[in-house]
Symmetry: C2
Subunit: 516 residues, 2 copies
């Protein structure tokens, strides 16, 4: 894509056509400046087929805010819209509407609340709340969802892999298999969710983490084609990076050639006072090969050298590798935990694409309209009760039990404040007979989750850096029940409604059914 | 992402760290300017779990070329690399290497051959061939794969959906669920592979197609919150877009409310001399609702109004909808084919992410090295014979049978020319006993597939426009056997080797096994 094209395709027109056609309808009806509120939320955790998430890690806000601050209706954008025709050849957009768009120009009329990045989040609770003139809030929808859906999806996947891998070093390797330029947002989200480093140089530069990598098979192939071999290729790498030597040992044959050659080179490094870092296994039975490679490395006195695993890893494969090593390592005279603790995971395709569930179904729904000096809740009555969004302007609370663990999230009306209540009643979002009552003595903390981020376009929030976001994530994950973190068939975390919100929702559903 | 960050993350550092560490090894060993050849190919068709592709549509080349022509090692990039440290705190990159990088600067030393965009392609044949100094060809790898893997993946998915949908209008709706900014490359690939239009405004602007869309549920919700209803919302839309009226009928209840209200508005349009375009169904049993909606529309005299279907469609769901309509429409007195021919498909998430297989496993392998005045084939001896790439500088041929259908692709050495051969021998790529011999009388055409694109950085190829690429695609798909196009369990198309290539490969494998 050429530069001028990129500016067009990634600017304010990074949206769906219907946002603009609806904006023109609002304009022509005189409704375009009407203040409304949209909630952004997702309806289900990612379900990867054989395994499923029990929590998500929220991510994407900062890059969304950067985009919102940067884009506006440029002359080129307006001219493009002016050229769009209907079937009859009439202009699709009216000049007065386009003039208004250009005068309104950008998103500086919007206010935004959000749950911070790195926080554990759950279905059906507002993660982001947008308030402002309907035409602009509507035009923002597509890009907001694009930015937040994908990063939350990948941060969640990274967290799962990180947890299953016993928090051992996790490297994001997915750039080549990522969905185009989404790779950079994916790398960022992976670094938020659980990856320690990425191989993606540009994304690492932006995120302030060191880019990580070793060498490819092609290094060994080049030497072989020139009449030399794997040993010479390894030696060349170690000569140039004596302090950073990780050798890829599977170009020819891992056990017969790669590991013995790596050990020869490591011995040379040791003689010169360097500590070799590791070997990388990229094919075959990674559990079996880890055990065999560890034995050989231990015998040569390289007990601290890492074993980097890669090749279509995900949380399930890593879980299987660890299980297999736990069972088999002792049979080869190895301490399984010690071996597991020297593993490093390089995860590419399955992390950067969230294999099994490559999209998070985040939505952006109109929940309130300001009319005649008050906020009127709005509702979409869908055919399924689980899909009916929660109306009105709301707050989200996290309720912690006596052990300090998160026990439920509670969505309430804005007017409700639970911080001083003696009792909290948690209502099921659509099964009206289900409820749970917690007394104050069972609760250690009730925490509001949404923070104010933009006040009419102005940033009123201190954006946390990567380290702060990671701390937030770690703290939230520590306060989850182990059952919620289970990679298969996780315990369902409760996202409840307050009495008042449930009753408002029911009233509106009844009214809508009557009206139609 | 801020603008300066974007330039860093999407420029020449849109690559993996190991490409740069290897480049420094080559530099320090004096091998960095050595001429080499890399082949890009994929090993398997996308397998979506319940269904699988039997061919792919090649895409992505033009945007890769734009990127290659644009990026270079800027001062900021070099300074960033200069700041990278090893564990001991030494510089990761040597000043003389960085000086060389900056002097070499860009990809203008590389030559490139490719199979054109829009062509049907198959596993293990070189889709792209890169030749030039190894350090730069290596640095290109990651971005080349990123650009070509994703677009080929999505063009393939779009083609499948287009074929199953009987080539009826297909709209790409995926921007909100796409993997970040990959959305634009995905929209382009969808337009190449089978989508007629996209809802993505920016991508449509760049591709020269009209952006398409209607309205969202929020339009109806706004009117309801303001004390009006669905009918008033529909009427407002029709007033503003009398010539482009497509109404989303499932905000309240499709059959009870949406379709009757749409018909009222359509009647008004008809009185004014306008032809309403359609209704959109976005939830529920789309086959059943299509039939009921068609009956109601027909009774009101709107037999030509389109029925746009959306909501998690893919090729399998569309196939089921068409099957169900074929069986059930006659029971309601409808002509099934006529109903199927008025359907339009709006496909979002499952197309833009290639749900089920969100990455194409394209690879980039060193296949030849120029040394002592000749090209030496290079090989990676993997643990699986199916994964051993084909060595050397090669050509790719498509063999057409007497009916004009493509019957096999043939990979040969560069020195071989099949255009005038009396007989073509097709060898299985790794099962040495399998072969097939075609006599000239059985062959209507033997077509070389690779074209020269870049000669030392200079474009020597006329890039086709979207319409030309679509013509290429249509022609290639018409010449595929129906079995290859089957969406489940497709017939396996033969990708064969010439005798000479197979024999070279075997010799190299034997030599490598001896050497290790």
């Amino acid at each position: 894509m050429k530069i001028a094209d990129q500016e067009m395709a990634e600017g304010i027109l990074f949206t769906d056509m219907y946002q603009l056609t609806m904006a023109q309808v609002y304009f022509q009806m005189g409704l375009h400046e009407k203040q409304v509120q949209f909630d952004h939320f997702f309806r289900d955790y990612p379900d990867y087929g054989t395994h499923k998430a029990g929590y998500c890690i929220n991510a994407g806000l900062e890059w969304l805010l950067d985009w919102m601050a940067r884009v506006h209706f440029r002359d080129e954008d307006i001219e493009y819209l002016r050229g769009q025709k209907t079937h009859r050849g009439d202009p699709m957009f009216r000049p007065d509407f386009l003039d208004w768009l250009q005068s309104r120009c950008d998103f500086s009329s919007l206010s935004l609340w959000a749950i911070p990045e790195g926080r554990v989040v759950h279905p059906n609770e507002p993660l982001t709340v947008v308030r402002g003139p309907i035409a602009l809030a509507q035009i923002l929808e597509t890009s907001l969802l694009n930015h937040l859906n994908y990063q939350t999806l990948i941060a969640t996947k990274a967290s799962r892999i990180h947890e299953v891998g016993r928090k051992r070093l996790l490297l994001e390797f997915g750039l080549r298999r990522a969905q185009g330029k989404g790779a950079n947002a994916g790398a960022r989200a992976a670094l938020i969710g659980g990856a320690d480093y990425s191989s993606n140089v540009g994304a690492s530069a932006v995120m302030g983490t060191a880019p990580k990598g070793t060498h490819a098979h092609s290094l060994v192939q080049l030497y072989m084609a020139l009449g030399m071999g794997e040993l010479e290729a390894f030696q060349a790498y170690a000569d140039v990076f004596p302090d950073e030597t990780i050798l890829l040992v599977d170009t020819i044959d891992t056990i017969e050639s790669g590991v013995p050659n790596a050990i020869k080179v490591f011995e040379g490094l040791r003689r010169k006072g360097y500590a070799p870092l590791g070997i990388r296994l990229d094919s075959g039975d990674l559990a079996y090969l880890s055990i065999q490679a560890a034995r050989m490395l231990n015998e040569a006195g390289f007990e601290d050298v890492s074993i980097v695993l890669s090749n279509n890893l995900d949380e399930l494969v890593i879980w299987q590798i660890i299980t297999q090593i736990s069972l088999e390592a002792p049979r080869y005279g190895l301490d399984a935990d010690r071996l597991i603790n020297r593993l490093v995971y390089g995860v590419g395709t399955h992390l950067i694409t969230s294999w099994g569930e490559p999209a998070l179904g985040g939505v952006y729904k109109l929940v309130a309209v300001y009319d005649q000096d008050k906020w009127i809740p709005a509702l979409k009555v869908s055919e399924s009760p689980t899909k009916t969004p929660n109306p009105g302007y709301k707050r989200v609370w996290r309720v912690y039990d006596n052990r300090g663990n998160a026990t439920a999230d509670l969505i309430s009306l804005d007017e409700e404040d639970f911080s001083a209540e003696d009792q909290v009643v948690l209502r099921h979002p659509y099964e009206y007979s289900k409820m749970r009552t917690l007394n104050r003595s069972e609760i250690s903390e009730i925490e509001p989750l949404l923070v104010e981020v933009l006040r009419e376009g102005q940033l009123v929030y201190d954006l946390p850096d990567l380290e702060q976001i990671r701390l937030t994530r770690n703290l939230d994950i520590e306060r989850l029940d182990p059952g919620v973190k289970r990679i298969m068939n996780p315990h369902i975390y409760h996202v409840s409604l307050s009495n008042k919100l449930l009753s408002l929702k029911q009233t509106l559903i009844d009214e809508a059914r009557e009206k139609k």
